[in-house]
Amino acid sequence: MIGLVSYIVFFLILSLIFGVAVLGLNLQWGFTGLFNAGVAGFTAIGAYTMAILTGPARDAVFGGFELPFVVGLIGAMIASGIGAVLVGLATLKLRHEYLAVATFGIAVTIQLVCLNWEYLTGGTLGLIGIPNPSKAWADGPLAQNALYLLVVVVVVGLTFAALERIVKSPWGRMLKAVREDDVAAASLGKSPERVRLEAFVLGCMIMGLSGALYVSFIGYVSPWDFLPIVTFQIWTMLIVGGSANNRGALLGALIVWGVWTMSGFVISRVVPSEIQAQGGAMQAVLIGVILVAMLLIRPRGLIGEELHVSRHARS
């Protein structure tokens, strides 16, 4: 029983951390129509910043400032935001599929930097010993994980509430206006370029936050955690849940991560041990099938965008 409870706590922590990244992507794609195919890269920036700011000092590697957890979270968001400003200025002029190709390339490049700039990132070995704040608050793994889950729930709750407010604000309506027709938005005196950049940067900061929560929980960071498949998983979560709906984003994260872990569990039990190494491939095929099937059967996702009619137009 305790085993199951610990497992559920563990599962919820990871799927909610994914959920944060999906919320960030939802702001970019769902509300603003920006195709960011480099999600893994921006979570990586956040993750490494967290590791550098809060991790222990080590020889021959930069960082190890042993700063508090909250400083790490804020630092991670700032670093991802700075990365997003640079990337956004260079690429946001591009439309749709060119933006997808360019951001995909950015994620590949960021992963190469993580892999090779040993002084900053520890290279292939990554950075270990990243403190998990819950270790100081309780004894025993279950209590610690439960406390960390509480932290994650608070962060998800704050992010969710902030995003809900933001997308209902005038600025949020401007995002949708730019998404639907940026010429019309420009003719009303709005600046589509500026709005796109703001939404892109804010979305990437949220992805950085997700990466930071992840490394503190796992305790280490390595370049292999940010392969392009992470981007595809996060996209699948958004498509399954329903883009332009923050509840859908979180629901999609829970469902897709649930399918991923359950299938991993089933494969580890059912598949003979000689071909266990191929189990990961089976999971990836499954994610691909879910993504394609969802697009064919229910492209708006489980709970898609709600229609909003201006209250002036209603009566």
């Binding site: 195709f35 195919a37 260079a90 690429t91 002029k93 591009l94 749709h96 599929e97 060119y98 997808a100 190709v101 360019a102 995909f104 390339g105 950015i106 590949v108 490049t109 190469l112 892999l115 090779n116 498949i229 595809f232 996209w235 699948t236 498509i239 190494a277 191929q278 990961g280 491939a281 089976m282 990836a284 095929v285 994610i287 691909g288 099938v289 879910i290 993504l291 394609v292 697009l295 064919l296 492209p299």
Partner: protein, 303 residues
């Protein structure tokens, strides 16, 4: 040294060009960025492996090697069969995924779907053939020493020769045959082509067949001169996109020239940046071209 880098660049550029032709055509004519196109190279390479084994089971004629090359008639036949197999895969994908989505949903939905299709195709290769590198043959070859101390293998000479033949054949097809001319018309404007009596669906079938065959040949040549591994196509995604965008989507010569530029700049880049950063070079090329000339070298500025 620099001559060797140029030779290597032209060779890897030829493979990129073969893959980029199909990607460039689908980007222009089906109007979506197909992230799964590079997996067709992987499937071409691995399906040829099956046919190589099949033909060599007949022994004799199929098992011999031709002249200085590491392969014989078996591999050449297998390459043809791989083209057919890969074309069938591409047509099935069009029939059940991309074609449906292009009618029912937007272009971006097709891009998402291509992410999913790429995941499925790549990991099916791992499931079927495993993740260890495989070779078509273990024949050892002696390098040919060219002037300037440049070494190339006979198989690499074949790679280049076959690429030239394929490009010339495609050139003749696009300029001389009615289908090829209609294809260029569809690239210009599908609606206008349809109004002039072109069967656009048939042309789209041709686009997939040509694209998939080019990808299969590129994949087999990669397998022949490097090795077969499941990430073969995946590692070429950015080079292929860079070549297609550099050349201008929908242009045959653009894709070929783009492929050569990508291959050359990747291989020459190691003289100024660490080799480990080589995979980022195509991405920098994409950024540069999109910034300065988004329509590509041979593309036309659309209004």
């Amino acid at each position: 040294m620099i001559l060797q880098h140029i030779a290597d660049g032209i060779l890897s550029g030829a493979i990129v060009a073969l893959g980029a032709i199909g990607l460039s055509f689908t980007m222009k004519m089906l109007r979506f960025a197909n992230f799964s196109h590079s997996e067709l190279l992987t499937w071409g390479a691995y399906s040829a492996l099956v046919f190589v084994a099949f033909f060599s089971s007949f022994g004799g004629f199929f098992d011999q090697t031709i002249g200085p090359f590491s392969f014989g008639p078996g591999l050449l036949l297998a390459m043809l069969c791989a083209c057919v197999t890969t074309a069938i895969i591409a047509l099935l994908l069009h029939r059940f995924v991309f074609g449906r989505l292009s009618r029912a949903a937007g272009h971006m939905t097709m891009v998402f779907a291509s992410f999913g299709v790429a995941l499925i195709l790549r990991h099916l290769v791992v499931l079927i053939w495993g993740s260890d590198p495989i070779y078509y043959s273990r024949e050892l070859q002696f390098a040919i020493l060219l002037p300037g101390n440049v070494r190339v293998l006979p198989d690499q000479v074949f790679l280049l020769g076959l690429t030239v033949v394929v490009v010339i054949a495609l050139h003749l097809f696009m300029t001389r045959s009615r289908t090829g001319i209609a294809m260029r018309g569809v690239a210009e404007s599908p609606d206008l082509a349809r109004a002039s009596g072109v069967n656009v669906d048939r042309i789209i079938t041709w686009v997939w067949v040509i694209g998939a065959s080019g990808a299969a040949i590129g994949g087999v040549l990669y397998g022949m001169t490097v090795q077969l591994r499941p990430e073969l196509g995946f590692s070429l995604i950015l080079p292929l996109f860079a070549a297609a965008i550099l050349g201008g989507t929908g242009s045959l010569y653009g894709a070929v020239l783009g492929g050569l530029i990508v291959g050359l700049s990747e291989n020459l880049s190691v003289m100024i940046i660490p080799t480990t950063y080589k995979p980022a070079v195509p991405f920098l090329l994409i950024l540069a071209i999109l910034y300065f000339r988004p329509e590509g070298i041979f593309g036309e500025r659309s209004t």
